[in-house]
């Protein structure tokens, strides 16, 4: 069955620290992978996506993610977190002609 697992429900980091949010997926075909961010009262905003090619993907706001097929993972990283990055982050998997499956999200809290 297709699924996405985000094992960390809540993560707290200090401003300026590095960040890694984990995402593991199960998908029967070549996956399309996405990271979205949701701030309170805001719609989901796409951070980055992977369809094919280079497995290290650069996104907006200084985020990047690496697709590792052997580990079925697509972890999101940022070298230095800003207070404004506090939000909920969702990983999603889909495919060509297939619906998106979202994970349950990771809530990021940033301390000054």
């Amino acid at each position: 069955a297709q699924s996405v697992t985000q094992p960390d429900i809540h993560i707290t980091v200090s401003e300026g620290a590095s960040l890694e949010l984990r995402c593991n997926y199960s998908y029967g075909a070549t996956p399309y992978l996405f990271w979205y961010v949701q701030s309170p009262g805001q719609g989901l905003q796409l951070l980055l996506k992977y369809f094919s090619g280079d497995t290290l993907v650069q996104g907006i706001k200084g985020f990047e993610a690496e697709f590792k097929r052997s580990q079925s993972s697509f972890n999101l990283r940022k070298p230095s977190v800003h207070w404004s990055d506090a939000a909920e982050y969702f990983c999603a998997v889909g495919g060509n002609g297939d619906k998106l499956i979202f994970g349950t999200g990771t809530r990021l809290q940033v301390f000054p």
């Binding site: 009262g41 805001q42 719609g43 495919g95 002609g97 619906k99 998106l100």
Partner: protein
């Protein structure tokens, strides 16, 4: 340009009532999606429109839920005989042509069924 808009932003109704939620996609986007997001969960797919037709409605939970997109632009999600379990945020998204394209999400409609 304008993003995806959804109205109303909040809707409170009583159990058993009928509600309609509206979505205005980005102009020119032929694909439109509805999702439901319950508290503490990620968005859950409901239905996908390609133009005027529902290309995939496998996510609709039961026959109380129905959606239309008569002119291939604005879409309305309709819920009959609402139940308390229908309380959630209903999200709409649009993309240029279909699955595999970037989906742009609206702010959602928060539905509360009393």
């Amino acid at each position: 340009g304008a993003g995806v808009s959804q109205t109303p932003s909040n809707k409170v109704t009583e159990k058993g009532k009928y509600v309609e939620l509206r979505c205005d996609p980005i102009s020119g986007h032929t694909a439109l999606y509805w999702y439901r997001q319950s508290l503490g969960q990620g968005p859950e797919f409901l239905i996908y429109f390609q133009g005027t037709g529902a290309a995939d409605d496998s996510g609709l939970p039961n026959d109380r839920f129905f959606a239309v997109r008569p002119e291939g632009s604005v879409s309305t999600l309709k819920i009959q005989r609402t139940e308390r379990g229908d309380s959630a945020v209903y999200l709409c998204a649009s993309s240029l042509s279909g699955w595999g394209e970037t989906q742009y999400f609206g702010p959602g409609t928060r539905l509360l069924v009393l």
